[in-house]
């Protein structure tokens, strides 16, 4: 073939060190914050406790937020209903656990984990199914309209919360963790709840799995492109609707997983528990940068650490620590730390 065009030689200059470092800055924030914490907190054992449990709390937040990174970050759907999926996940998961009282009551880690696994599977199946219906009925007509999304998903949230009350009753449900996950591990004068270790493992699995799927498949690309110009994606031959539905289901199922984990952490679940966590979840997704699993992950860790340090140093300031963190990060990077999708 002979289709040669004229030479094309745009001028390139060297990048400065700062420019080359820029992509790595967010990753560095976590150790920097840990180091700052060490400076501000004189008691080493307290610092250690706060750091480790803060990171673990970050993982838990990440699990809840991971679904929203997909739905809000990638698909650009401002889903206030996400909190409702967290709640459903918690109720279904806890119901399963209560049914498996034999397994959770036994002081065997293996049995406990199997029970937990079953609860997670049940919860994810339930939230995935509800997510499917939610997308079909509620979200589908409002792609691309943020305001309507807020309202419609708000409506969906209320409906789901009320249905939870109809099904499970208005009372709070209390649950205790599986026997082997109660209590703490103590080391070097620091204490770490055992349950948080489970959260760390689950969080890492979710993180790795999401990264894998988004890097190795075109799904992430299709969604991002589809949000911008769905017609064109279809003209390339992709069944965009199916991909959107699939991603929405995945996001909802992840919220369900988050719900189980969060419910077991709180040990008390209410219909509006998910919604109570929503502001935090939104903050994490936004400071991470829309659409970025890595950003969301780092953001969640930062939030977890920040909360603990600030609450220790000055409890009054804890009220605004998350908000301050968000404002600072957005002032530094208005698009969030690692933006994948450009926000409008």
């Amino acid at each position: 073939m002979t289709t040669a065009a004229p030479k094309h030689t745009p001028k390139m200059a060297e990048l400065s060190l700062g420019q080359r470092l820029a992509p790595w800055m967010p990753v560095l924030l976590v150790p920097v914050l840990v180091a700052l914490g060490a400076l501000a907190i004189p008691q080493t054992s307290s610092w250690l406790t706060l750091t480790v449990s803060g990171l673990a709390m970050g993982m838990m937040i990440f699990i809840m937020a991971s679904g929203l990174t997909l739905v809000f970050g990638l698909m650009d759907v401002i889903n206030f209903g996400h909190g409702a999926f967290v709640s459903i996940g918690a109720f279904v998961g806890v119901s399963v656990l209560l049914m498996l009282g034999q397994m959770t009551g036994a002081p065997s880690l293996g049995l406990n984990l199997i029970a937990l696994m079953l609860a997670v599977v049940g919860a994810m199946a339930a939230t995935g199914a509800v997510g499917w219906a939610f997308e079909k009925v509620i979200v589908m007509p409002v792609y691309g309209h943020h305001l309507k999304q807020i309202l419609v998903t708000m409506g969906g949230l209320i409906v789901i919360e009320q249905l939870i009350i109809v099904l499970w009753g208005p009372e709070e449900i209390y649950i205790t963790r599986p026997e082997a996950l109660k209590g703490a591990i103590t080391f070097a004068g620091a204490a770490l709840e055992k349950y948080r270790l489970v959260a760390v493992v689950v969080g890492l699995i979710v993180f790795a799995a999401m990264r894998f799927v988004l890097r190795r498949t075109k799904i992430g690309l299709i969604v991002r492109a589809g949000v911008q110009n769905g017609e064109m994606v279809e003209a390339l031959g992709y069944r965009l609707r199916r991909v959107f539905v699939g991603v929405f289901i995945a996001g909802s199922a992840l919220a369900g997983l988050g719900g189980v984990m969060w419910g077991l952490y709180q040990e008390v679940i209410t219909a509006h528990m998910g919604n109570d966590a929503m502001i935090l979840i939104f903050i994490v997704v936004i400071i991470g940068g829309l659409g970025s699993v890595e950003g969301c992950f780092i953001g969640a860790l930062l939030v977890g650490l920040m909360q603990n340090y600030v609450a220790y140093i000055e409890p009054k300031a804890a009220l605004i620590s998350n908000i301050a963190l968000m404002v600072l990060i957005l002032m530094w990077r208005p698009m969030g730390m690692i933006p994948v999708v450009k926000a409008k």
């Binding site: 073939m1 002979t2 289709t3 040669a4 065009a5 004229p6 030479k7 094309h8 745009p10 075109k218 690309l221 299709i222 991002r224 492109a225 911008q228 110009n229 017609e231 064109m232 994606v233 279809e234 003209a235 390339l236 031959g237 992709y238 069944r239 965009l240 999708v341 450009k342």
Partner: protein, 241 residues
Amino acid sequence: MSEPILKLEGVYTNIAQYHILQGVDLEVPKGAVTMLLGRNGVGKTTTLRTVIGHWRAHKGRVLFDGEDITALPTPLIARAGLGFVPEDMGIFSDLTVEENMVLAAIHGPINSARLDWIFTAFPPLKTFWKSEAGNLSGGQKQMLSIARAMVEERKLYLIDEPTKGLAPAIVSTMARALRELKEQGASILLVEQNFAVARALGDTANVMDDGRMIWSGAMAELSGDATLQERLMGLSLDAHH
């Protein structure tokens, strides 16, 4: 002559309350370049969009390779073997050039020989392979849009005003690339305002006005007849060129 690759039979298309296409008939022969010409706003773009399924014909039929695709969803139409270069280029500006191309290659990894061929025609795509497509210059976006359609073999290419915004040198390489596509056996339906390109590439020509096809015939006949051009398109093309 063999069966045409694409055939529109009395297609009517409405957009909202407007009746845009009013009985368009069109045949695109296999292995040839077919031009679709006409003034602004006569319905050329609407015709292409009706073929790909972005607008729906509410009357008439669209046949592709002998199959009725009138009611098929867009993704299936595309997968039947259509490549589409929209008028507004349809660039995914948040994605990099590479990601745009990867998405366009629906059947798997990009064939590297084909990619090299695309790079020789449109060198900036290679230079800015990892850059965000939204930051490309106007002409570079146009190149990307065409390249996307060409990244894999298609039976038929629908191309809406590909040369707008391209520098003359690139226009020639693009024209050559299209010709090479044709030589590989593909068919092309091309909307074009640049008459030089139309004349150089077109085998047959169709002229639209006001939602109807008003003239169809060989390109040579049209380009040779100034009065015909005057009558069909309001202006002699040669005079302008």
